[in-house]
């Protein structure tokens, strides 16, 4: 974290876009160049508030490699006013950044266990730093499983990287889509169907899940049916945010503030809330 941000978490710091990659039709990655000498230090799972000047501010997870603070990377899906304004930023143009905020994937506590990543759609972005961390410290973990589901082959995020991870002999990667043409050589079916055959030790695994809430619920059910304990499951939650520092109450989720107590929660802590309709 840069010194400036530590001093005032409410003031966006201007960053210039160093690189922009169009990942999918509606999804892009922007790389920002931190000006501070120690770069932008964050933990896997944390997010920043990105401010499109004159339009508004939105929470976006950091999707880069936590061991390389010289690049601040975000992957964004264009769904509305602010993300649309962010999508139009060109190389050299500026945006404001506040952060990093929130809790992290428990990558250190997971050491000694199998690690299972289950991502859906854009949910792979907040998990990518955790994947990078495990790969950079591979010998500290047991079996490493990455399961990913998307709507169609054209919606598979980070395809090249998934292929690269799969190419490693120490990582099990399985990808599925809801429907596909015959030219797709991968799986077709829901992401939950990948879990049973991923062959990890259900009693010694930490599972990190990120995706739409419905996808997370289906995934948790499948994991529970297989015998994975609730305490070993972690999810990343989303709610609209304003302050991101636990003051305004915008992101309240039962007794928790997603910005401060989350976004990453042990499932056991929020299990009851996830079952409350309309919360």
């Amino acid at each position: 974290m840069s010194t400036q941000i530590k001093l005032d978490p409410m003031t966006p710091v201007p960053f210039a876009v160093a690189k922009r990659v169009q990942e999918l039709a509606d999804t892009f990655t922007i790389e920002l160049a931190p000006t501070s000498t120690d770069g932008f230090v964050f933990q896997p799972g944390q997010f920043n508030m990105l401010y499109a000047f004159g339009v508004g501010e939105v929470p976006i997870s950091i999707s880069g490699d936590p061991s390389d603070p010289s690049k601040l990377v975000h992957t964004v899906r264009n769904v509305g006013a602010v993300t649309d304004a962010l999508s139009k930023l060109k190389k050299g143009e500026q945006l404001g950044v506040r952060g990093p905020f929130g809790s992290a994937w428990p990558v250190v506590e997971a050491e000694g266990n199998d690690v299972v990543i289950v991502a859906g759609g854009i949910g792979l972005a907040p998990l990518r730093p955790a994947i990078e961390h495990v790969l950079a410290n591979r010998s500290k973990y047991g079996r490493f499983v990455v399961l990913y589901g998307a709507r169609s082959p054209a919606d598979v995020l980070y395809m090249k990287q998934l292929q690269m991870w799969r190419g490693r002999l120490d990582t099990y990667v399985d990808v599925t889509v809801d429907h596909a043409g015959r030219d797709w050589a991968g799986n077709v079916g829901v992401v939950t169907r990948l879990i049973g055959r991923a062959n990890f030790d259900v009693h010694h695994a930490k599972v990190f899940i990120c995706g739409p809430e419905l996808m997370m619920r289906f995934t948790i059910k499948e994991l529970s049916d297989l015998g994975v304990a609730k305490d070993d499951i972690y999810v990343s939650m989303e709610r609209n945010m304003k302050c991101a520092i636990g003051h305004c109450g915008h992101c309240q989720f039962g007794g928790h503030f997603i910005c401060k107590d989350g976004p990453v929660f042990p499932y056991a802590r929020i299990e009851n809330l996830m079952q409350v309709r309309g919360l």
């Binding site: 919606d155 809801d178 429907h179 015959r182 799986n187 079916g189 169907r193 739409p212 996808m215 289906f218």
Partner: protein, 155 residues
């Protein structure tokens, strides 16, 4: 006879038959055949009589809807340990979609007419088989319903 014993061993290795008593399994093995399909082979075609049903030992098959003038639309892929082809149970006993081997696929198949005959005579065996099928069908239905929710749509 030796052949049936070999098939019984293959059936015993498939998760669908886990815990099934030996007598029932051996009876079923009498209707079984060990088959291999190469990548790209069609195992079944939509609308054609469903005369066998299949237990995947290894490989991947795709369930496809044929679209006139286009490549098939893949709706599900199945893998080692999966089961497909229950159209043999439901009149008019026709395949509901095309089945294509995506990779080299090894299966055990059971012949439907042979099976129906045996099940008619042996109600306990019928009960045993159907009790194993229902959870598989329920799981597949649940997956299909998950697919319908378009669950990756928003995050």
């Amino acid at each position: 006879m030796v052949k049936v014993e070999g098939l019984d061993k293959l059936l015993a290795e498939h998760p669908f038959f886990k815990g099934m008593d030996e007598t029932s399994r051996k009876t079923l093995a009498g209707c079984a055949r060990n088959e291999r399909f190469n990548e790209g082979d069609y195992i079944a075609h939509e609308g054609k009589p469903a005369e066998r049903f299949y237990f995947v030992r290894s490989g991947t098959v795709a369930l496809e809807f044929h679209v006139q003038g286009q490549d098939g639309l893949v709706i599900e892929t199945l893998h080692d340990g999966d089961v497909f082809g229950w159209s043999w149970m439901v009149p008019p006993y026709e395949w509901a979609y095309d089945i294509r081997a995506v990779t080299l696929t090894r299966v055990i198949s059971l012949e439907a007419t042979c099976l129906r005959k045996k099940l008619k005579k042996d109600n306990a065996l019928g009960f045993e088989l159907y009790s194993r099928f229902v959870p598989v069908m329920a799981k597949r239905l649940y997956s299909a319903r998950q697919q319908l929710t378009d669950m990756y749509g928003k995050s």
